[in-house]
Homo-oligomer: 491 residues x 2
């Protein structure tokens, strides 16, 4: 059906690029590593934002906005943080251009050098905690529960659309609490919000767990994460929630008077998801015909395509469809009637299939006569003819069914791709031949973690929250271990 | 009522700063010229975004996202554009920091110098038109109707919260068309969207018109604008919509095959409003007691405050209020019941007044007995007691009435402050003693426009769309003029 599409089996990476391009989601820009998110790709992001923003507000958070620039010295305040983030970043050194006296366009004005360089935010803990210092004096000012929707920049050398780009869009929550317990609860609450969003809206099953020390956020005491499995057997970190302890409060001297009237450092969390989720969405559900979208995230849920040979037929179909459109809209379903005369219906069939629209209706003159329509579901590629009369209910149920089917299908795939390895050879063999998550014993040291990463290109994705304790031996060193952890090669 | 508030008469500028601060809208950050938009201020922006975004989509536009960085050379491509925007901007010259070998934190790595400097976008015409080149080949690809919600940076030396900041948030629409006429229509359509938004939602009357050559957007053929009048008699440009002709298409070589199969340059528009609108909103309606918000833009429309002496009373009031809250929510009204026990009711009264909540209800034990509530409207500061039974309808009508009253009040003020001047002395005298818009003859030359600006600190705000032709003499030069134009001192 879909022409010019690389199949997953043939070249997975090219298949991904083809989908991003042919479904009109994004493209590379004139600026190295920065992407242009095209209208259809951005519409998916807007759907994600809308749902997530509602979930954040339901859990008591407000949006705010903090500066895009961070004074260079701020990054140095938290020792681990600077190690993680100060390296590859965009540095603003001047604030003016001037005409080239030699006529070569504009040049940087050497007289307009900043006293202190500014970094384009790679993440906002430092600028936000320098602000919170003014907001927090007493326990009465706590908790502070802010979220920010923003762009961030990390100077990545090897970029891939959505998955890893120099600039990306995200949200970052930054909260301040009076006790460690409250901050830990917040960290867990927000990870569960992410997991619910991934599973119930993106139809993408995730493992919830805690990161090993080596994979922690720079500046965090603990990083919780959700990990998803892509169709090529590689894992993808889909969201993180960090318990920051008092690290940033100490770095920016944010103290509060507690109920006993004693000064104490504030406890912090931060949590974020990004446009990377669009990459995860693509690789979880799509097939060799193009993008597949779960109905709850699809910008367009239903498309109706008339098949006609003359204006009379076209008008008759249009009239028939009107009432159905109205009923679907009443149900909150997004529907488009595409009777664009400049494009063939075959072209349209292909277009909406590549773009992953969950349900397509086709109606021709014979369908009109028989009071019926052909219904195509994108997830299974099945076509079926339905009577027109209660078609709105059929479609409503079908959308629920597609959402559920996509989740079950991904869950089945994910669960079939968690394997146990008890020896190093077994471990490598699974990674090389089957991929997926490998559940294996590890001796708990950073050295071993790094060595495994070096030798097998696999990392500890997480230690699942509900992990059972089990005596065993580290697959690399043979040292004793109390539990298996989840390894994978990852994006 | 409101303590520590500077009055408008006393010091208008300080009054503005007091409102921004005491209503918790925004504050200066650690980065010079960049603001932090606090949750309550950001909630106003979200209301604005929500309404505007709906209006953009209704007029056929989609959102997309383009890179924050612009290669330096792009700015030079359009001659006027570079003059207007290349001067004060944030320049990224390096992409890496490294540890200072002398132990002084982190320093810019001299080895990580960019081949070509990147500018943090002051506006996105150049990067977007470099992208449109790939999107547009034929008339079938037109029109392209994109909008972007984004942050932009202009290195302003003298900044004021919301009104003029180095970084601000805005939306920028960028459209591409096959004909000049279509692009001109788009420019007008979007200006009307802005005017409708200002008048119907912000309750802020605006003059619609076209800018004189000197006040045009850098790179535009024509700039249309909406101009509002603040309470101190200064004008404020609240939104602009530009007809860009083929300037950017030529600069980035964007041509299309028209229906006659001939290559032609594409026609362009761009249009934007920013967080500056929040400054305009403050200065249009607020009074010496604090912020005043029109109900359609207020994050919180109704607050209910219980007045009690014991838990029994508090519980009884809470129960009484429940049903009312439910009814108001059904009507789509945002309402909060503030029974926070740690704050006195007098403190709450003041707090919500300063924050401009349109309607406040107070309910005490005697009100309970009499089945009534005290209703306070923020716009007129009037209090009135209403029977509880149909209070939801009373409030619903009151919100409509407040919205209307704020608009009528501002319109009356604006109309009373448009004066005609026929001589230079009269012109100066009005500006110095009364302020407001001055409707005066001008000889149509840039030289005169600049001279007037220099001598009177007043600029041509616009030539109104419905401007009547009238023979007269320029107030400065005495040269013949065919129409009056609208002058003012402006923000």
């Amino acid at each position: 059906m879909a022409e010019n599409f690389t199949s997953r089996a043939e070249n997975y990476s090219q298949w991904y690029n083809d989908i991003v391009k042919k479904a009109d989601l994004a493209e590379n820009s004139a600026v190295r590593g920065c992407m242009v998110i095209k209208p259809y790709g951005y519409a998916i992001w807007e759907k994600m934002q809308h749902v997530l923003d509602g979930m954040f507000k339901e859990t008591g958070h407000s949006n705010a906005y903090f500066p895009i620039f961070i004074p260079k010295s701020f990054l140095s305040r938290e020792a681990d943080h600077v190690e993680g983030f100060a390296k590859e970043c965009a540095v603003v050194t001047h604030y003016r251009l001037k005409n080239d006296p030699n006529g070569g366009g504009v040049i940087v004005d050497p007289d307009a050098k900043l006293e202190e360089e500014l970094i384009v935010r790679p993440t906002s803990e430092t600028i936000i905690w320098s602000t919170y210092k003014n907001w927090i004096q007493s326990y009465r000012d706590l908790p502070v529960l802010c979220n920010q929707w923003a762009n961030v920049v990390r100077w990545e050398m090897r970029t891939r659309l959505f998955l890893r780009t120099a600039e990306f869009l995200w949200q970052e929550g930054h909260t301040a609490h009076a006790t460690a317990e409250e901050a830990r609860n917040e960290t867990a609450t927000m990870l569960n919000v992410y997991a619910d969003f991934a599973e119930k809206f993106m139809a993408m099953p995730v493992v919830r767990g805690v990161k090993s020390p080596n994979e922690r956020f720079a500046g965090a005491i603990d990083t919780y994460c959700i990990e998803a499995l892509m169709q090529d057997g590689k894992a993808l970190q889909a969201g993180t929630s960090h318990f920051l302890g008092q690290n940033f409060a100490k770095a920016f001297d944010v103290q509060f008077l507690n109920k006993e009237n004693k000064l104490e450092y504030v406890w912090a969390t931060s949590w974020g998801v990004s446009t990377r989720l669009i990459g995860a969405l693509i690789m979880t559900h799509s097939d060799d015909n193009g993008l597949v979208l779960p109905p709850k995230i699809a910008p367009l849920q239903v498309v109706i395509i008339p098949i006609y040979k003359n204006d009379e037929q076209r008008t008759a179909i249009g009239e028939k469809v009107d009432a159905l459109m109205a009923k679907l809209k009443t149900k909150g379903i997004t529907v488009k009637y595409d009777d664009d005369d400049s494009k063939r219906s075959g072209w349209k069939f292909n277009e909406y299939e590549v773009k992953g629209v969950p349900v397509r209706l086709a109606i021709g003159p014979r369908d009109l006569e028989n009071n019926q329509a052909e219904v195509f579901r994108r997830d299974t590629l099945e076509k079926k003819v339905y009577n027109f009369d209660n078609l709105d209910e059929v479609i409503e149920n079908l959308l629920v069914d597609i959402q559920d089917n996509l989740y079950q299908r991904s869950l089945k795939f994910r669960d079939a791709n968690i394997r146990k390895a008890d020896t190093w050879d077994e471990f490598l063999s699974i990674l090389d031949n089957e991929g997926g998550f490998v559940y294996a014993h590890w001796d708990g040291t950073i050295e071993t973690e790094e060595k495994i990463k070096e030798l097998a290109k696999a990392t500890i994705r997480c230690i699942p929250f509900d992990n059972p304790l089990e005596d065993g031996k580290c697959i690399l060193t043979g040292s004793p271990s109390k539990q298996r952890v989840l390894f994978a090669r990852a994006y």
